[in-house]
């Protein structure tokens, strides 16, 4: 019963940690937009955490530049299990317009397992909320497997 309670709670209280890997700030602004009164994801229990140690969901934006690759990977590794990695915007999924550049390492999925991709440049807040809701389900599953 206690395990079930924890699994339920995991789905209801996902804390986000946001990593910018060279993004143009479009996605970053949209991510902040979902905290505003209009969309208010806090009603679903979402909260922006200040440190990766406290996070459940890591949101990566930007095309993962060479400079930031190791930093992104090490920060992701510092997030405790169960964790869920979400890429946001087209950049970390494909490299978007930066694809082929010598300094861009996208897609991120070649380095770590990515759970949810939220497409768009930049994605609409509704899309982000949908993606994050999917991520919470995955999170609950992962917790159940632990």
């Amino acid at each position: 019963m206690f395990q079930k309670l924890i699994a339920e709670s995991t789905a209801k209280s996902p804390w986000l940690f946001h990593i910018n890997s060279g993004s143009c700030n479009g996605c970053d602004i949209e991510l902040v937009a979902i905290l505003t009164p209009r969309y208010d994801v806090e009603r679903l229990g979402f909260k922006l955490a200040g440190s990766p140690r406290q996070a459940d969901i890591v949101v990566v934006t930007g095309p993962v530049t060479k400079q930031s690759l190791n930093r992104v990977l090490s920060t992701i590794s510092q997030v405790p299990e169960p964790r869920c990695i979400v890429t946001m915007g087209s950049c970390p999924q494909s490299g978007n317009v930066f694809k082929g550049s010598y300094s861009v390492c996208a897609p991120l999925s070649q380095y770590v397992h990515v759970d949810v991709d939220i497409a768009g440049c930049a994605p609409k807040p509704e899309a982000i909320i949908d993606g994050l809701a999917k991520a919470t389900k995955i999170l609950k599953e992962k917790r159940g497997r632990m």
Binding site: Q3, L5, I6, A7, E8, S9, T10, K12, S13, P37, D40, E42, R43, L44, G45, L48, A49, G50, S51, R53, Q54, D56, Q78, P80, E81, P82, R143, M146
Partner: protein, 325 residues
């Protein structure tokens, strides 16, 4: 005889574990935090999280992995949250609720002032033990906040001691249970002129002690990565979150016990307790209100504010109390 001792022991164990100990603290503290979050959200025209959100957060954190950084001192890092939590629950046992306290006559108000330092100290040492520079900055700010709150708190408590002592004819009264009894018999202290500035000052101290807006410089998640808790994850973090919630409860109930005790019509048996609970909730709502309408101060502004405005109010109260008003 033996059965008696056994029953007494069981009773005290009940006090510690259920009411007003762990279970009570856990539920009430979390509910107060939930109300706070909901209220702030509503004031910002948001829907806000469910009132039970702090419980979800707590249980989720309990199920998370606990990472001990390689640079941390393991024992201190892991023990600090537990010690802080236990110490905080013990303080709650000493605070009388409408004349009832689980362990009265064991600690006076000055001792409670010092016991309140232990949870903060545990958090500080845990932060220091994590080795993170963010935590270093956080603990520095937390310590400065403690120093800031200490002067007004001292003045307030001395004023209360003097007022009750004057009224009781002993000159001085440090005992928490005597203060509560006095209020039950003679009406609450807030009705006295000298206690009004002290009560206002105490209400201003609560956000600082609990690290709520605008005095949450120590946790400032947007500038210093959660400050003291930067390296904490999983169950220890849950313990810290719980400590924070209980601290809100402890300080608000201390506030009510000191200034609003003894209000009640005497019609119903539990009347006083209900009024007490309502007062606690009202105080918590006031804190939430301050939380919602203010922005974070800088740490030196926090210090300045407490040592000038709040201490000034408390000093006025002390001087009035000294001259018997």
């Amino acid at each position: 005889m033996t059965a008696n001792i056994f029953l007494n022991g069981l009773q005290y164990l009940g006090y510690i574990l259920i009411f007003p100990g762990f279970l009570f603290c856990f539920v009430c503290g979390m509910l107060l935090t939930g109300i706070d979050r909901k209220l702030v959200a509503r004031m910002q025209k948001r829907v806000g999280p469910p009132i039970l959100q702090p419980f979800y957060d707590f249980f989720k954190l309990c199920g998370k992995e606990t990472i001990v950084p390689a640079a941390a001192s393991r024992t201190t890092f892991l023990m600090a949250p537990l010690v802080g939590l236990a110490a905080l629950v013990v303080i709650q046992l000493f605070i009388p609720i409408h004349g009832f306290s689980a362990f009265s006559g064991m600690a006076d108000i000055i001792v409670i002032l010092y016991l309140l330092l232990i949870p903060a100290l545990a958090a500080i040492l845990g932060a220091a033990a994590s080795g993170s520079p963010y935590a270093g900055v956080g603990l520095s700010r937390e310590m400065v906040t403690i120093i800031s709150c200490e002067l007004p708190l001292v003045l307030i408590l001395l004023a209360v001691a003097k007022t009750v002592g004057n009224a009781m004819g002993t000159g001085l009264c440090f005992s928490m249970s005597d203060i509560a009894d006095y209020q039950v018999q003679h009406g609450s202290l807030i009705t006295r002129l000298s206690m009004i500035p002290a009560a206002i000052a105490f209400a201003m101290v609560i956000p600082g002690e609990t690290g709520s807006h605008p005095f949450d410089t120590a946790e400032a998640e947007t500038e210093i990565c959660e400050g003291m808790h930067a390296e904490y994850s999983g169950a220890p973090l849950a313990a810290f979150k719980l400590s924070h919630a209980i601290k809100v409860l402890t300080l608000t109930s201390l506030f009510v016990a000191l200034f609003f005790g003894g209000i009640g019509t005497g019609l119903v048996a539990l009347d006083g307790v209900i009024v007490f609970a309502l007062c606690v909730i009202a105080t918590a709502l006031f804190i939430s209100f301050v939380h919602a309408v203010t922005a974070r101060l800088k740490i030196e502004q926090v210090f300045k504010y407490y040592w000038t405005v709040v201490s000034g109010l408390a000093l006025v109260s002390l001087v009035l109390a000294w001259y018997g008003m």
